[in-house]
Amino acid sequence: MSAIEIGAWSLLAMVLLVVSGLHIAVALILLSLAGIWLIRGNFDIALSLLGQAMNDAIAGQEFGVVPLFVLMGLLVGVAGIGKDMFDVADRMLRRLRGGVGIATVFANAGFAATTGISIASAAVFARISVPEMLRFGYNPRFAVGVVAGSSVLGMLIPPSLLMILYAFLAEQSVGAMFLSGVLPGILLTLVFCGGILLIARVRPGYIGGTARGLQDGLVRGDLGRMVPIVLLVGLVLGGIYGGLFTATEAGAVGATGALLIALQRRQLDLAGFWRVLIETGHITVSVLFLIIAANLYSRMLALSGLPQAIVQAMVDAELGVAGFLAMFVVLVLVLGFIIDSASILLITVPLMLPVAQALGIDLVWLGVITIIAVEIGLLTPPFGLVAYVVKGTVDDDRITLVDVFAGAAPFALMMLLTLLVIIAFPWLATALV
């Protein structure tokens, strides 16, 4: 068997084992070891590469972004910022048909600027805005769909755990990846709002809801409570943009600010803070151990020559940039039906990176494309993690998992549309970087 064949077989085995439920890090480590062993005919070489990966893969100041931004997101969640954002948007938009849905989108976009985890956004807004929409007679399917759909903003608008993961895999700066998500995030927010308004016009029955004037309008002090969090987000992102902070430092500033806000709102006691720190640790471990395993996998791929063979095949087929992107996006979307988002990034990015480089594709732009394509997978059955979280959090027998997936489908379509726009206009991703 040639080295390329060994690489291809271990890749296939990896996907099968991951689908059958093997921990992804374990699959990456074992099959990379086996691949290196077979290619080099020497197990000691494989073990020594494993040791190097363990030592070096995450030994750098830049990896501090993971715990610090995760901590920031969790603290903002505990402080109840998500609910405040929703309340403000809800009071402003309630009179509109579909207004509570649009409020959910805006609140999600704002919350996304403080947290990097879509699952977190989905859980928060499933608890806050679904009951509000049901109270106003919205179609339950639309209500859960809008929450699931707009929660993907969490990992597109910085900070974003998926962007951090991509930055590490593609050896791009985390700060650059964060900034690349700003305009696409705003675009997707607007597309979601436009889509809801369109549905409200064409098929108002699908959204449902009564738009009676309630005693509302903004309560004084609502906007005032938003000031600290707006300042914090401005400081964190502005600090990265202006070169004042590295991404890790921005994470520390963000986490510290979020801690102060949570304390000032009296939402955090010592036990609560301890729980948040433990949760931070668990998320950090689950992400960074994957990075270590992916490092070994990249070494195996490099030894196998598989990526180079793909580059050659692409060149021979004269696919070009457009052809490659089309193939890559389809691959990611298909994988999105069967495996989870982190695994897709871990398996495809090291494989496709040499191809993208050979074609001269901007890796930051490719990152945004990859993330949106991966996030569509969060909404599609059977592995649409976000849908499970929404279903689990809402916990209402009238709302089934099918409702969530069906409700999220229009939003997945809108994401696909946005993805095409970003492919057509790369400056959307690269302008701020």
Binding site: V18, V19, S20, G21, L22, H23, I24, A25, V26, I29, L33, L47, S48, G51, M54, N55, I58, A59, G60, Q61, F63, G64, P67, L68, L74, G77, V78, G80, K83, I119, A120, S121, A123, R127, L161, T248, E249, G251, A252, V253, A271, G272, W274, R275, V276, I278, E279, G281, H282, I283, S286, L288, F289, L290, I292, I338, I339, D340, S343, F383
Partner: protein, 202 residues
């Protein structure tokens, strides 16, 4: 100590890839060895907070007094490795290792004992992987001790790397043991008479 996991108050989210999963996770283990993992995890948790304070001090020192903390960059890099390996066993015990659990969960609903058996095999593979990791990092620890490996620059700031290498050995070994115990629990469910026993059902 509060059980690790979700934050019940505020809009606290569940973990991104949470779900305590099928049998075995978050359960007492042989000799209550999960307590050792919990202790290491607590140490790592404190370390994360220390990291936050360190980076803040570095920024404040640099911006306000023109004096950054010496060695901060090196310490952060080394700390991340230490934190991950300190928390690895507890993260596994809590079922927080990233995996696609959909198929195995679906199988668990219909054939709980078969699912537990499959799960046991998967956990044994995990034990194999982490045992290999332990074997791979052990010589790195010995080397760090022997040559007195350090990060930083002499005459400015240096920190030895052997403590972190030792943490890597201990963390990966304990994770391998945790995997074995999870597999044992799975096989016990698989071999049990009562179908659905062992937490495969609510």
């Amino acid at each position: 100590m509060a059980p690790p996991g979700r934050t019940p108050s505020g809009d606290g989210p569940p973990g991104p890839l949470s779900g305590s999963g099928p049998a075995g996770y978050r359960r007492p283990q042989f000799l209550r060895i999960e307590r050792v993992g919990a202790a290491l995890n607590a140490l790592g948790t404190i370390w994360i907070f220390a990291l936050l304070v360190l980076v803040d001090a570095d920024i404040l020192g640099r911006e306000l007094f023109g004096a950054p903390v010496r060695g901060a960059i090196e310490i952060v890099g080394l700390s991340i490795v230490g934190i991950v390996f300190l928390q690895l066993p507890n993260a596994l015990w809590a079922g927080r290792f990233t995996r696609a659990e959909l198929l195995i969960d679906a199988l668990g609903l219909r054939r709980p004992r078969l699912a537990a058996g499959v799960q046991g095999v998967l956990h044994l593979l995990g034990a194999l992987a982490l045992a290999l990791v332990t074997v791979a990092v052990w010589p790195e620890f010995l080397r760090a001790v022997e040559i007195g490996d350090y990060v930083g620059a002499i005459a400015d700031f240096t920190a030895p790397t052997w403590p972190v290498r030792l943490v890597m050995v201990i963390g990966s070994a304990l994770t391998a043991i945790t995997f074995v115990l999870l597999a044992v629990a799975d096989f016990q469910v698989a071999a049990s008479r009562a179908p659905g026993d062992g937490g495969a059902r609510p």
